[in-house]
Structure formats: C-alpha cells, structure tokens
C-alpha cells in the first residue's frame, strides 16, 4: 500500500519535472533546493565568512501575517569616519526572491539602526549581514514561524 502510493507520487513528480523541462523552466519550484540566497550572500561578503556578532536582527518568533512582518536591525558601531557600517544586506532563505533589502549607512547616519516591514512566504530563516568600512562582515540570523504566507503566490 505504502509502496504503491510512493510509486504513484514518484511518477507524478517525475511527470511534473518533465513538463517543467518541456516548458523551459530552469528552476522548477519543487526541484530547487534553495532560492539562491547563498549566492546573494557570497556576492555581498566577497567570500568572507561573517562573524556572528555586532548585528542584532529583531523579528517576531511567530508572524500571523507573512505579508507584513516588522523587522528592526541594529549594528554595534561608533559610526565615525574611522569606523562605521557601510551596508546591511537582508536575505530570506525560502522567499521566491532571496534578496529582501539592502541598507546603506554612513557616518552621517549617527546610529546604525533601521526598521521596516517585510514579506515572508513561509516559515523560514532571515539573515542580516553588515559590512563595515574596513571590509569586515558580521551577521545575525532569526527563524520566523509564518502562519499565512505573504509573498502573494496564492
């Protein structure tokens, strides 16, 4: 019984994949393991591994509405000419598009702190990476449980 169901499922998936290939979709949703967030991060960091400090990514643990999730990011930095945050990248691991937003700061910002509202398609991890003026990178990561997805795929 179970074997039969598995076989049927496998056939369905197989057929779907064939259709997708025939239609020229290079990244069928059910076959793609990631949305390419690793690549977006690598481009931003230039291959450096971010240290897990200085960045505080504040997101709710549970979001009822994935269409509008409040997010605050704070980066510990004196924000002087000598030492300041330049860019902060935010990616979502399972959104249709990995890139969420990139913030640009300068010493004129005074404080590296920003809030906005983001969309999350499903329960997933969000990563914030800060790049300093000396090129060093820092990160924070939070998982958000999403009750109703919000990337408008329905």
């Amino acid at each position: 019984m179970t074997a039969k169901l598995d076989r049927r499922k496998a056939l369905t998936i197989g057929a779907g994949a064939l259709t997708a290939t025939a239609l020229g979709w290079s990244e069928p949703a059910f076959a793609a393991k990631t949305n390419g967030f690793e690549k977006v991060i690598a481009q931003f960091t230039g291959g450096r591994t971010p240290a897990q400090s200085r960045v505080h990514l504040d997101l709710p643990k549970i979001a009822d509405d994935g269409g509008s999730v409040p997010m605050t990011i704070t980066v510990d930095s004196p924000m002087t000419e000598q030492s300041h945050v330049v860019d902060v990248l935010v990616v979502a691991e399972k959104n249709p598009r990995a890139h969420v937003v990139t913030f640009h700061f300068s010493p004129a910002s005074g404080v590296a702190e920003v809030s906005t509202r983001i969309r999350l398609a499903q329960t997933e991890r969000v990563i914030a990476i800060a790049k300093m003026n000396d090129g060093s990178v820092y990160m924070d990561r939070k998982e958000v449980t999403v009750t109703v997805g919000g990337c408008g795929t329905s």
Partner: protein, 109 residues
C-alpha cells in the same frame, strides 16, 4: 501615475548639533511582486519601489535598495546625526521611472 501619499515624522524638528534624529516614513504603494495572479489567472505585473534615499541639508545620510519582499505601503524608520539646518528630503524611486518625494525640515541650534 496615481498620486502617492507620503507621511513623514521626525521625533524632533529642532536639535542641537550632534543630536540623533529619528525619521519615520510611510508611503502608499502596492509593492506588487509580479508573483500574484488576479481572479482570471492573469499575472499581475510587478510594480515596486526600487530605491529609497534620505538627504539632509543636501547630504545623503541613509538609503536602501528595496525588493519585492518589502511589504506594501513601505514603512521605514532610521536615524541621522543633526549637523546643520536644512530640508530632510525623502525620495522613493519607482521601477516605472517616477519618483515619490516627501519633505520635512530640521533646525539645528
């Protein structure tokens, strides 16, 4: 394009030199992802604000590159260091090539 309404609020309009000023801004915009379909199954075309820039007294203090994952009616809160009096100009750059501009003013004593 339809007129977009902008709301801007500074936590203080007068500051001493070196004070940190908080800006809250909201702009009415659908931020259509291009992934949604209407009732007839047609894809609703993508239409988002791509960039946000804040200039204070002619100097850029903060900017952001938005993407489809910014919620509709984008809200943003950030801070800047008050250095000199002048206009606080917020610009949202629409993908369709238009700009939405809002303004406030900071007086530095």
């Amino acid at each position: 394009m339809a007129a977009h309404q902008v709301k801007i609020k500074l936590d203080k309009t007068e500051a001493k030199k070196g004070d940190i000023v908080e800006v809250k801004a909201l702009v009415y915009h659908p931020m259509e992802t291009g992934l949604r379909k209407d009732r007839s199954g047609k894809v609703i075309p993508r239409h988002i604000l791509k960039k946000f820039i804040c200039m204070v007294a002619g100097k850029e203090v903060f900017s952001a590159d938005f993407d489809t994952a910014i919620a509709a009616n984008p809200f943003i809160r950030f801070k800047f260091r008050a250095v000199q009096s002048g206009p606080v100009v917020l610009t949202w750059v629409d993908e369709d090539g238009s700009d939405i501009v809002g303004q406030a003013r900071i007086t530095v004593n």
